[in-house]
């Protein structure tokens, strides 16, 4: 009797052994989706700010940001345009680290990118090792087209929530829809519940 050997136990996982969220297909490349021009922010001018809508709570320039404790992590990415990329390895700073000294009773985060992109999500989805500001991908500097020099990564939600070229996080008491959430896309965007569009 022939032994059945799953190729999935070594190397990159294949579609045959990996359960994808409903409606997704596996890709091994990394498609680029952009709703506008790619910002090219010199590192000398780069800033990341956390505010509450009126006052700045924390602010980092590139040097102080890169001086924060960082982590290497491997996650699966699921884009609402139906591709999934598995086992992507990143390096970045956990939002737990960035928010550690922020005292807030806000429930939501509104994320701004360089350029005009925005997205919204519950603050709790940024905490407990579920979100990072990533600056390296696959062993190299994060390319501009993938959000470099630094992007948000919230891999448990559809990838449009992982704002490229992140610039500012505003902590709020009221949930305000972002660039796509205000025009038909789901406010939360859980790929495992296939929350692509309004009402799903």
């Amino acid at each position: 009797m022939m032994a059945i050997i799953s190729r999935g136990f070594s190397g990159r996982r294949s579609a045959a052994v990996v359960k994808l969220p409903p409606g997704q297909y596996l890709t091994t490349d990394f498609p680029v989706l952009s709703a506008g021009p790619t910002p090219n922010v010199p590192l000398d001018n780069w800033q990341l700010t956390i505010d509450d809508g009126t006052k700045v709570l924390r602010k980092w320039d590139w040097e102080s940001f890169r001086g924060l404790p960082n982590e290497t992590f491997t996650v699966d990415l699921h884009c609402v345009t139906r591709w999934s990329k598995l086992g992507a390895t990143w390096e970045g700073v956990s939002l737990d680290t960035l928010l550690a000294e922020v005292n807030t009773d806000a429930s939501y985060a509104f994320v701004h990118s360089y350029g005009d992109y925005t997205t919204n999500l519950p603050l709790k989805d940024l905490l407990n090792q579920k979100a990072w500001i990533a600056f390296r991908f696959d062993g190299g500097e994060l390319a501009l087209e993938h959000g470099g020099p630094a992007r948000l990564l919230v891999p448990h939600l559809y990838l449009w929530k992982s704002a490229k070229w992140i610039r500012r996080i505003t902590l709020t008491h009221e949930d305000k829809p972002g660039f796509w959430e205000g025009l038909g896309y789901h406010n939360y965007g859980d790929p495992w519940r296939e929350q692509r569009y309004w009402g799903e």
Binding site: V32, S34, P37, W160
Partner: protein, 99 residues
């Protein structure tokens, strides 16, 4: 502060927009609500590799129009334009010629 971009001209959005507008929007003139530039829609910078279609002003890159086609519903955002002006003279000539 931006690099080279993967945009197309406004004609690329013609197919998507033909399901909304009765006339060809690419020949229409639109005024950007941000910088005031008035240009033919065909000159807009259109980004198609996104969860929707985004048309931006060729002068200032402000969003002019967004379209999202989700299942059985189309969402249209035209807040980025002060107006869209359609030239109907050709339509009238066509109607007169046909009558």
């Amino acid at each position: 502060m931006s690099s080279d971009n993967d945009y197309l001209d406004g004609n690329a959005a013609a197919g998507e927009l033909s399901s909304i507008f009765a006339t060809d929007i690419t020949a229409a003139e639109g005024q950007c609500a941000n910088c005031g530039a008035t240009k033919r829609f065909a000159e807009a910078h259109v980004y198609m590799q996104t969860p929707g279609v985004v048309a931006r002003c060729a002068a200032c890159e402000h969003v002019l129009l967004r379209v999202v086609n989700v299942r059985h519903r189309i969402f249209l955002d035209v807040r980025g334009m002060t107006f869209l002006s359609f030239d109907t003279s050709q339509d009238r000539r066509t109607v007169q010629a046909a009558s």
